[in-house]
Symmetry: C2
Subunit: 319 residues, 2 copies
């Protein structure tokens, strides 16, 4: 297949390039680098099955030749209010990527009869009142809250995708992505995993906010990419959760990181700095992914962290 | 003020033109007539304070001269699946009006330092689990449901409006409009009021689905317009519900219509044809409108229906 990937220089986009190239496809990558990083695709330079265009896909998309599939992964995604590339600091670009970008992608998919895959997110569930979250849960998002720029952009993108499917018969699919980690992740994205792993590799005590009882579920990037590609190759149109349902408290997680990295500096507790915007829990119900795609995650936390450490060491100048 | 109104030829847009002209403002009206009706603004032809441009504001907006205020009312709004101008049959135009149209309006507002007022809707609450609905209720909307094209378009529009306020300091406001009726309403919009009033004026028995216990709250258009204009003149930025909190069952309502119109044909009960998409109850909490705008509805159902009858009779060829 000839596959267009928007956000190709992002964490997930670049892994999808690698995987789909390995599967024998031709890839057209696009990214405007406002959050994507050229380093993530530098190794693909010279690959004759990979071409790259620096583009803002919220403005327009122009592709020559046939496009068999489109994976729309372009969007700021970091919830860190301090990060310059997070969606709190790029609110309008985030909303444009979700609405105008999705609209442009669907226009191309309609013309080319392409399979379209939208990168949606567990954020559409907001601060969920149901655990774990199944695809039928309508979510708990305040549309005028600060975090809503990301959540509502993705909710809109899902609705528009379904509208193109129902009205224009475009062959669409929607993946709802839960917390993911691995090489090329944004180490400043403000999530618990990169923060703790950085501290461990630097030999510092790991900071746990509050009593550490808030939980997270982390999926290793290879598992996630495998689920996304299975969805791409399927004929499913309705949203599918892809994520790792193994739920751990932040405290358990910090202890595991110290053990895996051999960090002896222990844990320090700090007052709960959690903003009202941070969900206390989020965990995927992956029943549909199992049934429809025969997919479930295979990489456990220890293996995933070990695979991720070299990337972190390199970025931290420890390699 | 010099005021741009999108959707100027719609039910609410045209009443806003009348009211703001009466208040001494200059009005620039725009509409693409996919759901608006030229008849609604025909009486304004020749008014030197009113100009009109046939435009699709989802594509672009071009205005010469200063714009002091923008009221963004362009959108399909009828929930009737049978109506050609309803949002089920115009799903992509509906989403474009909410996302691209709002984006274009906010761009103009930013350049001109205009007061911006977004027409949002009680539909952002979806099928609510809380009654009545206050502005803090995050709603219950399935983003991939068929009805979501309208709901998510308006939720997105609200988020984008707040993003422009927070990030670009645009002077924005958001009105969440509940069920409204009056002259120039879409008689085919599929809601209970026009259906019943038509039957009553034709001397037919009024059709009540199920046992008629589902409730509605109807606001007369003059009240609604008064609330919107008060919000426009205020400095409020957060969403404000405007609607009539008087809740009636459909049965009570049908009986009232028969009484007001003198229709002797009674009521017939039919099997509940309510689709899963129709909310069973929706009722505004207007505490904020009272406190911030000193607004509450003044027109009771009898007066409102009496004011509406001449329009219906004319449309039905009975005048």
């Amino acid at each position: 297949m000839r596959v267009l990937i928007t956000g190709a220089a992002g964490f997930l986009g670049s892994h999808l390039c690698d995987r789909l190239l390995a599967d024998g496809h031709e890839i057209i990558g696009m990214d405007n680098f406002i959050t994507g990083n050229p380093d993530n695709i530098a190794h693909l330079a010279g690959n004759e099955n990979f071409s790259f265009y620096k583009r803002d896909i919220s403005n327009y998309i122009f592709v020559t030749g046939k496009v068999d599939a489109i994976l729309h992964f372009a969007s700021p995604a970091s919830p860190n209010p301090q990060s310059k590339s997070g969606y709190f600091n790029l609110p309008i670009q985030t909303m444009k990527a979700g609405a105008l970008g999705t609209h442009n992608c669907l226009g191309v998919a309609r013309i080319h009869n392409s399979r379209f895959l939208l990168a949606s997110t567990s954020e559409i569930y907001g601060d969920p009142e149901v655990h774990p979250q199944a695809e039928t849960y309508p979510g708990n998002v305040d549309p005028v809250g600060e975090r809503a720029v990301y959540d509502e952009a993705k909710r809109f993108a899902e609705s528009l995708t379904m509208a193109y499917h129902r009205f224009h018969k475009v062959n669409t699919s929607i993946v709802r992505i839960f917390n993911t980690y691995g090489p090329r992740m944004d180490m400043e994205d403000g999530r618990a995993l990169p923060n703790l792993l950085k501290q461990a590799l630097l030999g510092e005590p790991l900071t746990v906010y509050g009593n550490g009882s808030q939980t997270r579920s982390f999926c290793y990037v290879d598992d996630l990419v495998d689920g996304i590609v299975k969805l791409l190759y399927s004929e499913e149109h309705k949203p599918v959760n892809i994520g790792n349902p193994v739920e751990m408290s932040i405290l358990q997680f910090a202890e595991a990181i110290n053990k895996i990295t051999g960090n002896k500096a222990g844990i320090v507790y700090k007052e709960n700095a959690r903003s009202a915007r941070d969900p206390q829990r989020r965990q995927p119900n992956i029943t549909r992914a199992k049934q429809i795609l025969n997919w479930e995650p295979k990489v456990d936390l220890e293996e995933g962290i070990r695979n991720t450490i070299p990337f972190f060491k390199q970025k931290l100048g420890l390699a």
